[in-house]
Amino acid sequence: MIVPYSHVIVLSGILFLMGMFCTVVRRNLIMVLLGLEIMLNAAAVAFVGASLRWQLMDGQALVIFIIAVAATEVSVGLAMVVAAYRQTGSVDPALLEGKETSG
């Protein structure tokens, strides 16, 4: 007996909300990527809780794939941030509008 399942879902929801806020509001591409990481982590927390709720290991298997996707996304995303910084000298998404990045 740990806690009711709904409390895990509420924790995951709060984390997801924080990540979404960080992604939408901050004007810095690195903080946008950090917000995406927070959201993926919130999904992982929900999956582990559900895995324990129904006593099935499938939820934990999905968390493995979430971690793989997070690693993929962050490596490609940070490479794009560095490329955009080289082109424009800034990581403000508002300053990147309309600027064509070659390559």
Binding site: A70, V74, G103
Partner: protein, 172 residues
């Protein structure tokens, strides 16, 4: 309340507070370090919820590899001026609207499907060996696809991050 319940609420408080600190920092390095604390809390939460292998992976991959990658890029990029203001009004409105939609939907889901939500979590542990055996018997194809995805990401990051000589003069 059991000891595990107290641990859960303690960990939840640490995770939410450190994430909240992370998303409101101006200094990017501070934000990354707060997020590392948050991911350590998540790893302990995974351990509490009976996933020791995932707890280890969370520490190694999330708090270790991904956050160090962020730190590298933060140190590589020199920011001339900090963001001012931190939460501009123009972006606050869509954020508040989507947050309101999210909260209302979540509250409706939590209050309508009561029997599924009210169940108490019984503690159980998926040992790493049992979990690995399960993963490589039922999800072996998905594991292969995930490894292919990582390979593609490696090639994509190499291609995007490659320095190109800027064309100095137009070709004659």
């Amino acid at each position: 309340m059991t000891v595990q319940g107290i641990l859960f609420y303690l960990l939840a408080t640490v995770i939410v507070l450190s994430t909240g600190m992370a998303i409101t920092r101006r200094n990017l390095a501070h934000a990354v370090v707060y997020l590392v604390i948050s991911f350590f809390g998540s790893a302990l939460l995974f351990y509490l919820l009976g996933a020791p292998l995932l707890a280890a992976l969370e520490v190694i991959i999330y708090a270790g590899a991904i956050m160090i990658l962020f730190l590298f890029v933060v140190m590589m990029i020199r920011l001339e001026k900090p963001e001012t203001p931190l939460f501009p009004t123009r972006q606050m409105i869509p954020a508040l609207v989507s947050a309101a939609v999210f909260v209302v939907t979540g509250a409706l889901l939590l209050t309508t499907s009561v029997p599924a939500q009210e169940a108490w979590l019984e503690s159980a542990v998926a040992t790493p060996s049992a979990f690995g055996r399960f993963l490589f018997t039922k999800y072996w194809l998905a594991i292969e696809i995930a490894s292919l995805l990582l390979l593609v990401a490696l090639m994509g990051a190499l291609h995007i991050g490659k320095e190109r000589p800027q064309p100095k003069e137009p070709a004659p």
